[in-house]
Subunit: 380 residues, 2 copies
């Protein structure tokens, strides 16, 4: 019988560009904020799990050394854009096993170290070396989706308008100015149909959560949030024709996570999904069952996924506006959803939210096996 696990503290720094700040100095303030929120001190923590995609050697040791926690078991996790949420999965397991009562999970990334240039390519990825970089890959999928379901550029741009409207209410978001469909479409072309505003920005960031055995959580937090399901899946495609409008790994991981939680799409009150590009958010509406296939634009335009709607998606602003410092994203999604379930989100609060979902997926540019997806469901 696995022990149940709850989140008792959250912390993050505002995502943005901090070229003069080291990875360690990006990370520790988020960790300190999460401990303060939980009312715990370093000596209460049993182990540390640090997700980073491109952070170099021993990021966790560097970060937690700043807080006098370098003697603890520290394990660094690399799982591309799912690094932070994979770290959460490990932290969840570590408490579930009975090995620890309290652990900290972090996601941290510093993309400004590449000086505005591209993230270094892996030489094994021949498709990438030949030009199938992330915007190009997502653009192909978007074009196919537009072809299949009649979505227009203006409708894709609507995802950004919603995103910025939410982010304007989030002090931790990287891009906080509201925008219009016209502005989005007038920004420079990156990979047709994506203009600049339809791509998530690069930047730096850190987010942290403190996990606790659920039976002990009320000692620390007046509002612990239960981890109802924690699931990681990797990429896998059957041979044969593929449908580019269906994100297979997310569909499969979602089904497994819903089953683990004993819940379904109709139970979700708020979700943070991996909107790296506009079309991705639409496809994930369908992958999670928030609407039927081909009906994502209708769902968006109905207002259902906006604050005040039936199932607000990315109230934080999501990757498109809160920013996407690779590994920090998965952890920051959890920060947002936990705070939503605790009723602490001020003007962007999803009223009465009891069940929330986070979704971070990445890799998978190349041979389709190299993808990863991590989904968590939280309840109060």
């Amino acid at each position: 019988m696995m022990r149940e696990v709850a989140v008792i503290g959250t912390g993050m720094i505002r995502f943005g560009k901090y070229p003069d700040v080291s990875l360690a100095d990006l990370g520790w303030p988020a960790a300190r904020q999460a401990m303060d929120d939980a009312g715990v001190e370093p000596e209460d923590i049993g182990a540390l799990f640090c997700g980073t995609g491109l952070g170099g050697p021993m990021p966790g040791q560097r970060i937690f050394g700043r807080l006098g926690m370098a003697g603890l078991p520290i394990i660094n996790v690399e799982n591309a854009c799912s690094s932070g949420s994979s770290a959460l999965n490990l932290g969840h397991t570590a408490i579930a096993s009975g090995r620890y009562d309290i652990v900290m999970v972090m996601g941290v990334e510093k993309l400004t170290k590449f000086n505005g240039g591209p993230i270094p390519l892996e030489k094994e990825d021949w498709e990438v070396a030949n030009g199938l970089v992330m915007p190009a890959l997502y653009a192909m999928r978007a074009r196919r989706y537009m072809h299949e379901h009649g979505a227009t550029p203006e409708q894709l741009a609507g995802v950004v308008v919603k995103s910025r409207r939410h982010a304007a209410l989030n002090p931790d978001a990287q891009l906080r100015g509201e925008t219009t469909v016209e502005e989005v479409l007038a920004s420079r072309m990156i990979a047709d149909p994506f203009t600049l505003f339809q791509c998530c920005p690069t930047g730096d960031g850190a987010a942290a959560v403190v996990l606790c055995a659920a039976d002990l959580a009320s000692r620390y937090s007046p509002r612990p949030v239960k981890v109802q399901a924690s699931h990681v899946a990797s990429g896998h495609f059957e041979s044969g024709p593929r449908d580019m409008t269906v994100p297979e790994i997310t569909v499969r991981c979602a089904a497994e996570t819903y089953e683990e939680a004993g819940l379904g799409p109709e139970d979700i009150d708020v979700a943070e999904v991996h909107d790296a590009f506009t079309s991705a958010e639409l496809m994930y509406y369908e992958a999670f069952g928030f609407c039927r296939r081909g009906e994502a634009v209708q769902l968006l335009e109905s207002g259902a996924t906006s604050l005040g709607g039936r199932i607000p998606v990315n109230p934080s602003g999501g990757l498109l506006s809160k920013g996407h410092p690779v590994a920090a994203t998965g952890a920051a999604q959890v920060v947002e959803v936990v705070r939503q379930l605790q009723g602490r989100c001020g003007k962007r609060q999803v009223e009465g939210a009891k069940v929330g979902l986070t979704h971070a997926t990445g890799g998978g540019i190349s041979g389709f096996d190299h993808g990863v997806c991590a989904i968590h469901i939280f309840t109060v």
Copy 2:
């Protein structure tokens, strides 16, 4: 109550230089061998933990994709030289939690991708940038040890002679030719007192183990080996004078691991320790309590740590001769100790071995907080 965990299968490739082989193609044969040894198939495995220090993005997904296992939960771990053994710690926890019955753990590294040049430096490590690279750091410690305890260059060289004598019996070792004290001292100087032969070689490698809940292990293996203790610690030094001849992180982690196992140094029948340089093996004899402080040379020269002695250390040849492909090392140590406890090591068999220990430690060049150490104790 945590479930007990056993090793039911082991696999590794011979360590060496494989510049034309991709990381994925280094890894999968070790994983396949471990599954064959355990008598399990991909569909029996619940999750995969892949340790790599410098393997780039998503190594586990690349490797296990080759085996049709890319749909599983795969988590990549970076903990410098302890990456493989930290992955083992995660695999152990994952089974202990009840989440999975069987998991695979791998360590893999391809150092030839650096074309003989140095491993890229982390810019935050100013000491490294100023010349305190690994051989220099260990050399300072060695010089101090020689000063304190009167060890001579010839005595340090004796560690290599023993190492090569063991490796000559190990078909998976990178360097298999026997040597002499004279040859060791005549090899070119790297960092006084270390000549070339006193430094572990660089190379490529992969090693894998299959873990199973102990109560199910006998279904698969006639000779399961129990994981008696699994412990990871990170670096931490109190302020004040430091004794360079005492590897603090190993001393502390060893004490914690012995306590977890309910065993002490007198119980260990065979050990694989992190002999990255000759002096390191000597200091680890003392850190693990195999002898008293300052008496490591006597222990070595008594033959106690050679095959046939009281406590054979590094029967595989250790890092100095088996090789040291960073993350693969910790997993390969486990492969060796498990096979020793199963009585499968042929001419290098430690007769009657019932309790074995592995020790992988790394990082820690810089601010002393950045170290990591993972120790495991196995029993039959």
